[in-house]
């Protein structure tokens, strides 16, 4: 395949991990929906699952409200953030009653010492599992042992492990083996040859493409995925097909 200085994806792309809005210490380069769509167009990205930056470190409840103005019925789809409190559960349940919850993202309550353990998160995880709502879990905020032990207690819950970095390199395979209904989002998978090796070990059905824009540049990982040994049918699964299946509540493998 000849390499060029311009790049366009050759399969449909549904980005599983896009952040919108400002962090309190870092304004976003995209100030509004139009600018985000323009950036997606520049990289050939058709659709994106988006969450609001305010949900990361300030308030998942308020941040979910700020997300509304970014949504677009055809290209930008909401990912609501959630934390194990009654208020948060009530907010997500209300949205669910409106038919608007197809995934949620875990807010980092570990930052204040609340572990990801059944006694702390069990009510939330039980409700998600019963309602077949997949949970995105950012690995930079997580503890490997808590993930393995807690998620093993909710075997029907589908999860997407987000942002595995080379500093998580020793976690990834044991977690993927222990948690058959876990997917791995690929925005930060940088160890040498690891995309091909993971697909070989677990099958392309276990992976989803995310850019983690605007934390990371949008195009670099998409370029990488298009220059591997994985087949185009596998690439289609990773870049859109698996995510669509997960959001439809059909992500279980076991």
């Amino acid at each position: 395949m000849s390499i060029q200085f311009t790049f366009r994806p050759r399969v449909p792309v549904f980005d599983a991990n896009v952040r919108v809005g400002d962090l309190h210490y870092q304004p976003s380069p995209c100030r509004n929906q139009d600018q985000l769509l323009a950036e997606m167009d520049r990289h050939g990205v058709d659709k994106a699952l988006i969450y609001h930056a305010q949900t990361e470190e300030v308030s998942p409840l308020d941040g979910n409200g700020f997300l509304e103005e970014w949504l677009d019925s055809s290209r930008l789809f909401p990912q609501w953030s959630m934390t194990p409190t009654p208020d948060s559960l009530a907010q997500i349940q209300g949205l669910h009653e409106q038919g608007r919850v197809h995934s949620v993202r875990l807010h980092n309550a570990r930052k204040v010492g609340l572990p990801f353990r059944p006694w702390a998160c069990g009510t939330m995880l039980s409700w998600l599992s019963e309602n077949r709502i997949p949970l995105w879990i950012p690995l930079p905020d997580a503890d490997a042992d808590e993930l393995a032990m807690t998620l093993s207690a909710f075997p029907e819950l589908v999860t997407v492990l987000v942002g595995a970095h080379y500093s998580h390199a020793l976690w990834v395979r044991p977690l993927m083996t222990t948690l058959p209904n876990a997917y791995l989002e690929l925005s930060r998978i940088e160890p040498l040859g690891e995309v091909e090796a993971l697909c070989e070990a677990y099958g392309a059905e276990r992976f989803v493409y995310g850019s983690w824009y605007d934390r990371l540049a949008m195009g670099s990982m998409l370029f990488y995925l298009h220059h591997t040994d994985i087949s185009d049918s596998e690439l289609e699964l990773i870049c859109a097909g698996n995510l669509l299946r997960i959001l439809q509540g059909e992500g279980r493998h076991d």
Partner: protein, 249 residues
């Protein structure tokens, strides 16, 4: 090659970092390079303060594929008495072509006198020196300005271009002030707009593509150059034109 442009990766490692699954398997490295048209990768070994052990490893690694890799020499002021002798051996006998330095492994800022024998050596021979640069005090790229002024015939490369916003801004200012300062692009942060910032503010002729292979796969790091909002001409310089000029290869 990308559109007839030879592509040179200016930042790569030999040796294993098992905690991070960093494996210097030449077959895996060449596979990643071949998939995206990288012709040559520059490699060095920073894990041995004597310099000798790592430089020998690098030389053996390069010798297996001399058309695809070039080696850089590493020394450390933690064993300062042997630095210049080891550099002489590494360049003259092992055939390594530039120098890598890693100030976070030491207790000295990169512009302190203990480093100067290395800079004098590079200055005499017109060599390039790539530093790890970032937010830690020893590696702050703003300090490169002092070195560049004192040793104008050496070329100073800010590895990672400072990595994050404040040191990156300092690296750019240093490159604007001194023609012998260059900015190298590899970073796990992959922050949006950084490649555009480096090219627009320091100039496309001062930016070098690097990947940090084998700690990181070279493909996403090249991808951030290819997908940056800069001209094709700028991409040619960043991807290989500047490195070829700097290394004389």
């Amino acid at each position: 090659m990308i559109e007839e442009q030879r592509v040179i990766d200016f930042h790569g490692h030999t040796g294993r970092l098992d905690l991070y699954n960093g494996v210097d398997d030449p077959d895996l490295i060449l596979h990643a390079m071949d998939k995206v048209g990288i012709d040559v990768s520059c490699v060095f070994n920073i894990f041995h303060p004597d310099g000798t052990t790592g430089n020998d490893i690098t030389a053996r690694f390069v010798a297996e594929h001399p058309d695809r890799f070039v080696g850089f020499a590493y020394v450390s002021p933690m064993m300062a008495e042997g630095m210049v002798d080891e550099l002489t051996r590494a360049i003259d006998e092992l055939g390594l072509v530039a120098i890598k330095l890693y100030p976070p492994y030491t207790q000295w800022d990169l512009n302190e006198p203990i480093w100067h024998p290395i800079y004098e050596f590079a200055n005499e021979r017109g060599l390039a020196i790539i530093f790890h640069t970032g937010s830690d005090p020893h590696s702050h790229p703003g300090l490169l300005a002092d070195c560049a002024a004192k040793f104008p015939n050496a070329n100073f490369v800010s590895g990672h271009a400072g990595n994050v916003a404040e040191p990156r801004a300092a690296a750019i200012r240093a490159a604007q002030d001194y023609p012998n300062i260059f900015l190298e692009t590899c970073s796990t942060f992959r922050t949006p707009g950084v490649i555009e910032q480096l090219v627009n503010e320091a100039g496309a002729d001062r930016v070098l593509f690097g990947s940090d292979i084998a700690l990181m796969d070279s493909r996403p790091q090249l991808g951030k150059i290819i997908t940056a909002d800069i001209s094709d001409e700028a991409k040619r310089l960043v991807c290989g034109g500047n490195a070829a000029r700097l290394l004389g290869i």
